[in-house]
């Protein structure tokens, strides 16, 4: 297992957002987490990326127990995007992706201040690598534009390119298709397959069922903070409990 979580629980001021959720993610697969609004999907993603600390339960990634802050989770190889965009709007598209590469080009304050020669060489390499990632997500023509000039759909893909800059083993995508039109959603579909083909395990939190059914190989259904069902996309979508959770009546 690439990631294993045991009885994860998290509540906010008495509201149990997540209760006793266990999760096992096999490497190299596209996993999806679905569920009605308020089911705890984003909370789960925030626990898996270190943004929240669980009230109870443990997370193992690569057989190491994960604790600490988001940057520790990132260092271990867990990357993510955000439902409400967290693009660096004060930087160009290319610089956003270059910032994603921080862990692979980290330098001391002294080295940075004195512009040591190795740094200048690394800078060119970094620029090229970031440009390639922009090409992958189809944004290379925006490379030198200020990121706040990019359309919404492009920003979603920019966040994916930025997260890939950190070379994660596991990529958590929080509603990558929310607010996108069908064409843009197809781009995301293609991109997720591309990422998976590179051997990166993907966790997709998404409301667009068509996208989920098409790209994912393993689906986890959450409802009221509990795991309702999991399995292959077809078996999950035929599950009467899942249908009831979504439609609100017994099938």
């Amino acid at each position: 297992m690439l990631l294993r979580a045991e009885n994860l629980s998290k509540s906010f001021g008495g509201v149990a957002a997540l209760q006793d959720v266990a999760l096992e993610l096999e490497p190299g697969m596209v996993h999806a987490i679905i569920g009605p609004n308020g089911a705890g999907k984003t909370t789960l993603l925030n626990l898996l990326s270190g943004v929240y600390r669980p009230d109870n339960g443990r997370i193992f990634f690569d057989d190491e127990e994960m604790t600490g802050a988001p940057h520790d989770f990132s260092a271990a190889g867990i990357g993510r995007t955000f439902q409400n965009l967290q693009v660096f709007f004060n930087m160009s598209a290319l610089e956003n992706v270059m910032a994603g590469r921080w862990q692979h080009e980290r330098c001391s304050l002294a080295a940075a201040l004195l512009r040591l020669p190795a740094l200048a060489r690394g800078e060119r390499r970094s620029r090229e690598a970031a440009y390639e990632l922009l090409e992958l997500v189809g944004l290379s023509r925006w490379a030198d534009h200020a990121s706040n000039a990019l359309p919404y759909g492009a920003l979603k893909r920019l966040e994916i390119a930025r997260a890939l800059g950190a070379k994660p083993k596991l990529l958590l995508l929080d509603e990558p298709a929310a607010g996108l039109n069908p064409t843009e959603t197809r781009d995301i579909d293609r991109l997720i397959r591309e990422v998976a083909a590179r051997g990166i395990t993907v966790v997709l939190v998404e409301h667009n069922m068509k996208l989920v059914m098409e790209v994912s190989e393993h689906v986890v259904v959450l409802d009221y903070g509990r795991k309702l069902a999991e399995g292959a996309p077809r078996s999950v979508s035929d599950d009467p409990r899942v249908i009831e959770a979504y439609l609100g009546c017994s099938a």
């Binding site: 990326s49 943004v51 802050a69 988001p70 940057h71 989770f73 990132s74 260092a75 990357g79 993510r80 955000f82 967290q86 693009v87 660096f88 709007f89 004060n90 930087m91 160009s92 610089e95 956003n96 270059m98 910032a99 994603g100 590469r101 921080w102 862990q103 080009e105 980290r106 330098c107 001391s108 304050l109 080295a111 940075a112 201040l113 004195l114 512009r115 740094l119 690394g122 800078e123 970094s126 030198d144 200020a146 990121s147 706040n148 000039a149 930025r162 997260a163 800059g165 950190a166």
Partner: protein
Amino acid sequence: MSSFQTASSAAAPPSASRRGLAALALVAALLPLVLANAYTYDVAILVGLNAITCVGLNILIGYAGQISLGHAGFFGLGAYGSAILASRYGVPVPLALLISVMGVGALAWLIGRPILRLRGHYLAMGTLGMGVIASVVLATEDRVTGGPDGMAVPPMSLLGFVVSGEKTWYWIVAAALIAAVWLAQNLIESPRGRALRALHGSEVGASALGIDPARHKLGAFVLSAVFAAVSGALTAHYSGFITPGKASFLHSIELVTMVVFGGMASTFGAVVGAAVLTTLPQLLTVLKEYEMVTLGAVMMLTMIVMPAGLVPTLEKVLAVTRRKSV
């Protein structure tokens, strides 16, 4: 603090920054041709000293996106530290300056760890308090600091020669400013500078990429304090006299104003902001009682017309006209 978010100010590419540095060196080299007397030299030196502080403060405010309303405290502590070591303990001035600056850096590191947990308005309040404490201590510990009346500061000697006279000081300050700009630009164009700017853009976004917010903010805070302390210590030895007023809240506000006026997230903006807001009051003295009113009006108008600050706005205008002419 949302008002300190700059919309879009990409770091200048290295070539542009090298041109900027060359231009700054050229201006510094040619300026003595028009500096007619000791008074104009004095103003130019003051510009340089303020610019050193502002270049450092801009790393914190403009790039890392963290406010400080207490940096005059670091300026004052740097000045008094070096002055006291030199006058009361007979430490040679360059060494006293170095010890003082390192001491201020260490102090900033200690203060920064708890204070940088605050954000936005709370950070503004916290740093304001820090500056107030520094200036009160300097004003009341009169046995060491001379109290509100200030203290005389021994002159600096380098390689056995006593540094005196505006002309010599001009070159020292010019060299220090060019070094400060060079260091700041190197940092900003490095991966570390990118991490700082990312932090400004989105803290949670940056931390999801492995950038530790606390560590990087602290680095920027200490660095900006060191720049302020260098400027403070040089000011003390240049002017030969120092008062607690230099560490006051008002001076902190002046420094922040220079950074914002020149343009946040622009090293050269910090230099230009310091230059304009240091010389303008001198030029406006001809208006006598209307001086402060005019200064206020100029500042208000500039910020209304150019909310991004002088240098970023002019850069944008230049870029547009260049595109049109192509």
